[in-house]
C-alpha cells in the first residue's frame, strides 16, 4: 500500500452563507475502502462531489498520486461515481449505459462490447445487455450503475449512499457483493453513507463526519470501542453518554454521576473536570448482574424490542436517560421498578463534547 494515494488538504466549501465543509483533511492509501459516515446534511455528499470534480472547493487542495487535481473537471479525473439515485440514462439500454464512458473515449466498438459483457458478468447481470434500464429492479439498477463506473477502471471509486434505496435484505446482499468486487479489483473506494452498520461491515477505515468536519477517523473497531467524541458515540449504535464530574483521576478514576460515585476508565484529566462518560448499551449492567461498584439508582422507564434485542430505558435521579440492551425478548424488570445500573470501568470511555 502506498500512503497518500489521495490526499485532501483543508477543503472548505460554502453554499451562500452556509458553511458545508469546514476544513477537511484526509489521506487515503491505495486499495483502501474508506467510509465517510454521517447524518444527512453533514456535507458528505458535497465532499464526494469535490473528489469527483463535479464541484470545486472554495479553498484547499485535492491531490491524487501527489498531483494537484483540485481544479481539474470531472471528465478528466479518472475518478468515477455511483450516484445515490443511480443516475442511469433512461433513454439508453443497459449496454449503452455501461458502455457510455468507453464510447466517449472513442474505443473500438468490438472492444467496448467485450468489456461491457465482462463487467455485466462481474455484477451478475450477464445477458441483460438490451434491457431498458427503466424496467430493472432497484438492485439491478444498482449493479448497472456499478458496472458503468467500474468499466472506466477508475483510480478511485466513489459510492454515494448506493444502497439507500434498497430494502434491508437486498442491502445486506449488496454489501457483501460490493465488498467482493472491491477486493477482487483491489480498487480504492470511498463510500458515503449514513448507515453505521454498512460502514462497520465494509470499511477498512471510517471517517465520522459532523457539520462539515471529521470528528474521528479510524478503523471500525476504534470507532466503535473508543469513540473520541460525544457525537461519534451517539451516532454509532447510539451509546449512552453520562454527564459527570471527575473526583479522582489516574488509574482508579472515579466520577460523580447523578450525585453517585462510580468508577470509570483510567484518565489523566484533572480532578473537578466536567466530563462525558460513554458506555455502550450492551455494557450497561443492571441490578444483580455483578456490578463491580455501588452503581447508580434508576427507575425503569420503557422496554422495547427490535432487531433481536430488548432495549430497556432507565431514568436517573437527575432526569437523564440511560439505555441497556439485552438479547431475547424479555427481562425480569417491570416498568416503574427501582433498580441500579453500573458497569465495568474498562468498558467506559471519556469523550469530548460535540457541537449540537
Amino acid at each position: 500500500m502506498t500512503e497518500n494515494f489521495l490526499k485532501l488538504v483543508n477543503i472548505e466549501k460554502s453554499f451562500g452563507t452556509e458553511k458545508i465543509l469546514a476544513g477537511i483533511n484526509l489521506e487515503i492509501s491505495k486499495g483502501e475502502f474508506i467510509t465517510i459516515l454521517g447524518p444527512s446534511g453533514c456535507g458528505k455528499t458535497t465532499l464526494l462531489r469535490i473528489i469527483s470534480g463535479i464541484e470545486y472547493p472554495d479553498s484547499g487542495n485535492v491531490l491524487l498520486e501527489n498531483n494537484e487535481i483540485t481544479n481539474i473537471p470531472a471528465e478528466n479525473r479518472n475518478v468515477n461515481t455511483v450516484f445515490q439515485s443511480y443516475a442511469l440514462f433512461p433513454h439508453m439500454n443497459v449496454e449503452e449505459n455501461v458502455g457510455y464512458g468507453l464510447k466517449l473515449k472513442k474505443i473500438n466498438k468490438d472492444i467496448i462490447k467485450k468489456q461491457v459483457d465482462e463487467f455485466l458478468e462481474l455484477v451478475q447481470l450477464k445477458g441483460y445487455n438490451k434491457r431498458k434500464v427503466t424496467e430493472l429492479s432497484g438492485g439491478q439498477k444498482q449493479r448497472v450503475a456499478l458496472a458503468r463506473a467500474l468499466i472506466m477502471n477508475p483510480k478511485i471509486l466513489l459510492l454515494d449512499e448506493p444502497l439507500g434505496a434498497l430494502d434491508l435484505k437486498l442491502r445486506r446482499d449488496m454489501q457483501l457483493e460490493l465488498k467482493r468486487i472491491q477486493k477482487k479489483m483491489g480498487i480504492t473506494t470511498i463510500y458515503v453513507t449514513h448507515d453505521q452498520e454498512e460502514a462497520i461491515n465494509m470499511s477498512d477505515r471510517i471517517a465520522v463526519m459532523h457539520k462539515g468536519n471529521f470528528e474521528q477517523i479510524g478503523t471500525p473497531d476504534e470507532i466503535y470501542n473508543t469513540p473520541k467524541t460525544e457525537f461519534v458515540a451517539k451516532f454509532v449504535d447510539s451509546a449512552n453518554i453520562f454527564r459527570g464530574k471527575l473526583i479522582k483521576t489516574g488509574k482508579d478514576a472515579e466520577a460523580l454521576i447523578s450525585n453517585h460515585k462510580i468508577n470509570i476508565c483510567e484518565t489523566k484529566l484533572p480532578v473537578e473536570s466536567d466530563i462525558l462518560i460513554c458506555c455502550r448499551t450492551e455494557e450497561i449492567l443492571i441490578g444483580d448482574e455483578n456490578i463491580p461498584n455501588q452503581g447508580i439508582p434508576v427507575v425503569v422507564k420503557e422496554k422495547f424490542f427490535g432487531g433481536g434485542n430488548l432495549r430497556i430505558e432507565f431514568v436517573l435521579e437527575n432526569g437523564e436517560i440511560a439505555t441497556a440492551r439485552r438479547h431475547g425478548i424479555d427481562y425480569n424488570l417491570k416498568i416503574g421498578e427501582r433498580t441500579i445500573i453500573g458497569w465495568n470501568p474498562k468498558n467506559t470511555v471519556i469523550v469530548e463534547k460535540s457541537d449540537e
Binding site: S52, P90, Y100, G101, K105
Partner: protein
C-alpha cells in the same frame, strides 16, 4: 365539414346536396397547390426560428432560481391578457414606414432610410414568431424543468465534456418538449391567416386567408370545407409523426 366538402357550390348562397369530387380536384390546381406550398414554407421558416429562439430561452429559463422563473413566466403570460389581434395592430405601428422601429433605427444611425418592413414577408415571419414563440418556450421549459440533472453529473463523471453531456443526455431527454413545441407552433401557424393579412397586407396569401376569402367573399363553402379537411389531415399527420418520434401520447406542457 367533411360532408360539406363533397357537396356542390350553391348558385347564390350555401350549397346543394349533390355529391362531387370537384372541390378536391380544384385543389390540385397549381394556384391552390402553390398556396399550400407557401403556407407550409412560411410555417417551416417560422417554426425554424421559433426553435432557434425558444429552445435556448426555455432551457435557460428552467435553470434560473424560482424567483426569476416566476418573473419570466409572468412576462411571457402578460401579453395573453390582451387580444392577439390588438397586439398585431401594435406591431403595425412598430413596423410601418417611419414607424417606431424605423425611428429608433434611424435615431441610432443604424439605417438611413425607413426599412419598409410592414407588408413584407419578413414582417409576417416576425409576427408568426411573436404569436407562437410562447408555446415553444413553455413546452421546452416544462421538459427541461423535469430534467434530472444528476444524469448530467453522471455523464461528466464518465468523461463527457459539458457540450458532449448536453447533446448525448440533456438534448435527448428534453426532445419531447421540443417536439411538442413544434407541434404546438406548426399546427396553429397554418391557420394564423390574420397575421399574414395584417402584417403582410394581402401580398402573402396563405391557406387560412383563402378559406376566409372563400367564405366571406367567394361564397364557396364546399371548397373552403375541402381546404379545411386537408388542413385537418395535415394536423393529424403531424400529431401522428410526433407520437412516432417522441414515443409518447402526451404533449409536453399541455396535458
Amino acid at each position: 365539414m367533411v360532408y360539406l366538402s363533397f357537396m356542390t357550390r350553391g348558385d347564390i348562397w350555401g350549397f346543394k346536396n349533390i355529391f362531387t369530387l370537384e372541390n378536391y380536384k380544384t385543389l390540385l390546381d397549381p394556384f391552390y397547390l402553390n398556396i399550400f406550398y407557401n403556407s407550409i414554407k412560411l410555417s417551416v421558416i417560422s417554426v425554424f426560428f421559433i426553435i432557434l429562439i425558444g429552445y435556448p430561452f426555455g432551457y435557460f429559463m428552467a435553470k434560473q432560481n424560482d424567483k426569476w422563473k416566476k418573473r419570466i413566466m409572468f412576462l411571457i403570460m402578460l401579453p395573453f391578457w390582451t387580444s392577439g389581434l390588438i397586439r398585431l395592430y401594435g406591431w403595425v405601428i412598430v413596423f410601418r414606414s417611419n414607424g417606431t422601429l424605423d425611428k429608433i433605427l434611424m435615431a441610432l444611425n443604424i439605417t438611413e432610410k425607413p426599412l419598409k418592413l410592414l407588408y413584407s414577408y419578413n414582417a409576417v415571419v416576425l409576427g408568426m414568431i411573436y404569436a407562437l414563440l410562447p408555446f415553444m418556450i413553455l413546452s421546452v421549459y416544462s421538459s427541461v424543468e423535469k430534467m434530472d440533472w444528476s444524469l448530467v453529473d453522471a455523464a461528466r463523471d464518465l468523461g463527457a465534456s459539458k457540450w458532449r453531456a448536453f447533446y448525448t443526455i440533456t438534448f435527448p431527454m428534453t426532445l419531447s418538449g421540443l417536439l411538442s413545441g413544434i407541434v404546438l407552433t406548426f399546427v396553429p401557424s397554418m391557420g394564423l391567416f390574420f397575421v399574414a393579412e395584417i402584417l403582410g397586407g394581402n401580398k402573402i396569401v396563405l391557406v387560412g386567408n383563402v378559406i376566409q376569402d372563400l367564405l366571406s367573399r367567394g361564397n364557396n363553402q364546399p371548397l373552403a370545407a375541402a381546404i379545411s379537411v386537408i388542413l385537418m389531415l395535415m394536423t393529424i399527420i403531424t400529431l401522428f409523426l410526433y407520437r412516432k418520434i417522441a414515443k409518447t401520447k402526451k404533449l409536453e406542457g399541455l396535458y
